[in-house]
């Protein structure tokens, strides 16, 4: 994890990672992305993109987060998530550590 990211909040980090992830995708995003951005509805994530985002966040923080607890609720995969929800989950996992 870089020194800059160490100082950043989970929300800032999630947004920075997603920003990096989608840089070549050619999405038309008025005003860029933020905490309220939804990965499926706004960024057109498919399931494989969500997996890649989870890997990217785990790499950034150099630890595994067990994202299944975020992605699966009551036996079903959740339909969509905001970047704030990803950030809150990361925050809670970091607090547990």
């Amino acid at each position: 994890m870089t020194a800059t990211l160490k100082r950043a909040t989970p929300e800032e980090t999630v947004i920075a990672v997603v920003d990096d992830l989608i840089q070549d995708w050619g999405l038309d995003l008025d005003g860029g992305i933020g905490a309220a951005t939804r990965v499926v509805a706004d960024l057109q994530f498919a399931s494989v993109d969500i997996i890649q985002l989870c890997v990217a966040l785990e790499q950034t923080y150099e630890r595994k987060f067990r994202f299944q607890d975020l992605l699966m609720k009551d036996g079903s995969y959740v339909g969509d998530l905001t970047l704030a929800q990803f950030a809150q989950f990361v925050q809670s996992r970091l607090a547990d550590a």
Partner: protein
């Protein structure tokens, strides 16, 4: 830096097809004339794949010199059972528990380039060289390409097109489905420019960087053979089969002709002093029947289907590549078609669904008997020709992640996990499936000319590549360098040496990483009991 070793992977290449394509008996000449020359002047052996001859475990075995029971990659899809749920995700390079040849060579000062190999994403931190992973969608190629500036350099290659180059999840799903004639033709056409993209990158890195080891994998061979086996099948005559058949066959020949050209150009660019190796992760053959294994297990009372709502999501779940079951009522099931494996659900904690741990052996024995009972109604022959326990085929530190049983179908096919009947059904047309025997080929200075070796194992390839790079073979490698692949003079000048064991895989540096505190505490307590920690 000077290139020492060129490795060309051909996913699913099989001698039964390549021997015909390199044959000069056809008046028009060989479809693959350069490979024909390689066969004549080099050495070859059948290469036995992993127990389940499948891309993920097989390529990882090739890249690590270790069997799946040690490296821990068994399938495309990884599942984690959580009481009454099963969470499915994709394997990635961090799931490999052992060190790869890319890392082994890197930490000993060799510069490597590895292109299009599966499970190389995310790339290792200790890489000395270049990596563009395979089986990654184009939208994630930049982040998974190493070093960080390489992706922008690749974009400078004329006609570079990441979308054409990379893995397309939706397209790949087609490989396992029945296609219309038009879709099948488009499927074959799709792979021609795709392979060209990988060739261009290989050529670019080979000529501009000249790494010690240049490795590139062409996976169109597998993709073509899955859908176009009928037009390649070496056991059939292709004369007088109609206009569509001839057009498809000629399209397949165009693919292999193009591949032969890429091989020749890469070998030529590598120069005369370079040792060239080629290998496949498995071979190919024809599958004649569909075996709906979960339907059989349901009939026998081992699993219960989940009710699928008549909605768009319900249809998606039913068409997905993994099982959708009532987990509370399921004891044994097959997770994915590619696994050819059966998992037994064992209750790990009081209140969990699944059998009691003490009932495991008797349950598994009963399950084996039920699977043996699946027979051809007409002949009485068993449909599942071999049933292996995981102790038999996946021994090692990663065995606990393996399926409890591995099935080998009588036609080498992959099972279906769909909720449909009949359990066994003849296919309208033969389709391509994986055969356990792939190919291993060596060519160049120091390689025995015209030698045909006894069958080797896929774990031997990694050992051979390290040897070719002038490195020791790690003492914990299961793979061995085949001495008869090399001339006596070469062996005398370059003895095969066994060296230090491999280092921990980068992703495994901290085995407790990502565990809950309670799990970490349990591990620490166990280590204390064993005397490993204070």
């Amino acid at each position: 830096m000077t290139l020492r070793t060129l490795f060309i992977g051909m996913d699913g290449a099989t001698f039964s097809v390549l021997d015909l394509l390199t044959s000069r008996t056809d008046p028009a000449g060989a479809v693959m004339p350069f490979l024909s020359k390689v066969f004549r002047d080099g050495a070859r052996a059948k290469l036995r794949s992993t127990p389940n001859p499948l891309t993920p475990p097989a390529w990882v075995s090739l890249m690590t010199g270790r069997t799946p029971g040690h490296h821990g990659v068994y399938d495309f899809i990884r599942a984690e059972e959580r009481n009454d749920d099963v969470f499915f995700t994709l394997y990635d390079s961090r799931d490999c528990r052992v060190e790869t040849i890319w890392s082994i060579a890197s930490r000993q000062g060799r510069r490597v380039a590895a292109l299009n190999f599966p499970f190389t994403a995310p790339p290792p931190k200790d890489l000395n060289g270049f990596m563009v992973p395979g089986f990654v969608p184009w939208r994630h190629l930049r982040r998974n390409t190493a070093p960080a500036d390489l992706y922008d350099r690749l974009k400078q290659i004329p006609d570079f097109n990441a979308q054409e180059l990379a893995w397309d999840f939706e397209q790949e799903k087609q490989a396992m489905n029945e296609l219309s004639d038009d879709d099948r033709e488009n499927w074959v056409r799709y792979h021609l420019p795709r392979e060209q993209q990988w060739y261009r990158i290989a050529d670019f890195l080979l000529t501009s960087e000249s790494p010690d080891l240049m490795a590139v994998m062409f996976d169109g061979v597998d993709k073509l053979q899955h859908q176009a086996w009928a037009y390649l099948d070496p056991t059939c005559s292709h004369e007088g089969r109609g206009e569509y058949h001839q057009r498809m066959r000629e399209l397949c020949m165009a693919y292999f002709r193009q591949l032969d050209g890429f091989i020749e150009k890469l070998v030529t660019a590598a120069g005369p002093g370079v040792q060239v190796f080629m290998a496949s992760d498995h071979g190919f053959t024809g599958s004649t029947e569909v075996v709906r294994i979960n339907a059989w297990l349901a009939e026998k009372g081992w699993l219960k289907w989940q009710d699928v709502p008549d909605t768009e999501e319900g249809r998606r779940r039913e068409d997905s590549m993994f099982a959708y079951l009532d987990w509370k009522e399921t004891v044994a099931y097959c997770r994915t078609p590619s696994s050819n494996g059966i998992h037994i659900r064992v209750a790990r904690r009081p209140g969990d669904s699944g059998i009691r741990p003490e009932d495991y052996e008797s349950t598994r024995a009963r399950l084996i008997r039920d699977l043996e009972e699946l027979k051809d109604a007409a002949t009485g022959d068993r449909i599942i020709s071999e049933i292996h326990t995981r102790e038999q085929v996946f021994p090692g530190a990663a065995m606990e992640d393996a399926p409890d049983l591995l099935l080998v179908l009588r036609d080498c096919g992959f099972v279906s996990i769909k909720n449909r009947l009949p359990v066994v059904e003849r296919r309208p047309e033969v389709v391509g499936t994986h055969h356990p025997d792939g190919v291993f080929i060596g060519w160049g200075p120091g390689i025995s000319a015209g030698a045909t070796l006894a069958r080797r194992n896929i774990v031997d390839v990694g050992a051979t590549l390290l040897y070719s790079l002038g490195l020791d073979v790690p003492s914990d490698f299961e793979g061995k360098v085949p001495p008869s692949l090399f001339t006596q003079e070469h062996l005398a000048a370059h003895p095969i040496t066994i060296g230090a064991a491999t280092a921990l895989a980068a992703g495994q540096a901290d085995p407790a990483d990502g565990m809950g505190e309670d799990e970490k505490a349990k591990i620490l307590a166990q280590l204390q009991l064993l005397g490993y920690m204070e």
